[in-house]
Amino acid sequence: MTSGARLIGLLALLAAWPAAGEGLFVASQQAARLTRIEAGAGSAARPVAAAPAVVAADADGRLYLSHPDGKAISVVAPDGSVRSLPLEAQPFGLAVEPDGRRIYVGDWSGNRVIALSADGAVEGEAATGPDPAHLVLGPPGRLYVAEREGRSVGVIDTDAMRRVGGFPVGDGPFALAADPARARLYVANVRSNDVTVIDTAAGRVLATVAAGASPYGVAVTPDGARVLVSDQHAAKVSVIDAAALAVTATVPVGHYPEGVAILGGFAYVANWFSDDVSVIDLATLRETRRIPVAEGPRSLAVVPRAPEASR
């Protein structure tokens, strides 16, 4: 009886979970939910393991969640099935190779980045500066890690799994965004209230741009022209002009905004305290709506395009 009810519940859940495709996903840490945002509205939320902090996606639409207190990574397949990859670490930051064959995990209190195979086997690890926060992939073979208590961004050679260099940044680097077109890396510094701009091709710091209070999330528009930074303590988003390297607009959003993602002419901002997602029209730079989501949204991931039918 009970197992029957459970099975029906599971089927209902799977039926409600849309198949993969271009889309935007939000992880709610307190509520342990993953929500798909579709056509500007939250369409389906599914339960996941406790306290997911960061969500990342690969090109095939698989979603990856880190569980710092649960010592695991969840992998949600496009069909809705979930695998848990246990990891003896405090997993926080995530980056995944587009083909999903390698998962990079920051171990917050372990001061290292771990490379996992798709089935969760540890393939290597690299020591980092203190408190590795967010990770982002750069050019082939390069991974960047925000070293929150090191005032630095570490450069990891992903073949050797070794830290091969670093950039000095502001105080409390937390979030990262890469712009492959301009070979730039944007680093949000929580405590110095600014964004460090790094020229990754030249290997040097290009500029430091003053932002609002506690920059906590960052995303670059696909054309690389604008950088959106969530100012966590100011309940707004600062818009940086990538050419001028200065804030040219601010957009009020919900309380304690954190993750920012961009899809199809809109920016989406996870408002951790307000339990909703702000939608910003990039043409007008105005918040057009707020989508309620489960408690504690922090991180967003974009699945860029529909996977091939054969997959």
Binding site: K71, W108, S109, H233, H255, F273
Partner: protein
């Protein structure tokens, strides 16, 4: 013994300095007060004046007034000191935001926090909302009970709750809790 304790306290402070774990927690409290928003703001809006209304606070030493970057060093009656910096202060909107500069686990068992206090009209009176985000005292994977998420929540909820009760009592002229 005293020396050992002092060393331990220093060690704890240094070990968790600016720590910022992966699992943030919420704290939020509201109170309605039978006084006009401007009157409430006059009391609560002065960043350095917290000792005048928060019953848990013994004294506050402030620098910088209500300008961005101002600081206050808040000494609690129960012991411990909170050093806080002002991020934003908006008089016309009756709101300010601040964050902890240095953790002191003897004051509050949390490693990092930020908070916003806002006064809004509510009928003939006012509503005060005090909300924040914090991280447990030990941000590692196996925190001791005294530095857990639960311990942090209990302490922060108590601190905010006591403060709002004290503010209401001061403005409405009732007995101080």
């Amino acid at each position: 013994m005293i020396r050992t304790l002092a060393t331990l306290a220093l060690f704890l402070s240094a070990g968790t300095a600016l720590a910022h774990g992966p699992t943030p927690q919420k704290v939020a409290g509201t109170v309605t007060i039978k006084a006009k928003p401007d009157a409430v703001w006059k009391v609560v809006g002065d960043f350095g004046g917290i000792a005048a209304w928060h019953p848990d606070v013994a004294k506050a030493e402030a620098t910088g007034g209500n300008a961005e970057g101002a600081t206050r060093k808040v000494t609690l009656k129960a012991g411990g000191t909170l050093v806080e910096g002002l991020d934003e202060w908006k008089g016309p909107e009756r709101t300010y935001s601040y964050r902890m500069s240095d953790p002191d686990l003897t004051a509050l068992p949390v490693s990092s926090y930020s908070a916003t206090l806002t006064v809004t009209p509510d009928g003939d009176g006012s509503r005060v909302e005090w909300m924040g985000r914090f991280y447990r005292g030990d941000t590692g994977n196996e925190p001791p009970e005294t530095l857990s998420d639960e311990a942090g929540r209990a302490a922060m909820n108590r601190y905010v709750g006591d403060g709002l009760k004290g503010l209401k009592a001061k403005l409405e002229g009732g007995p101080t809790p």
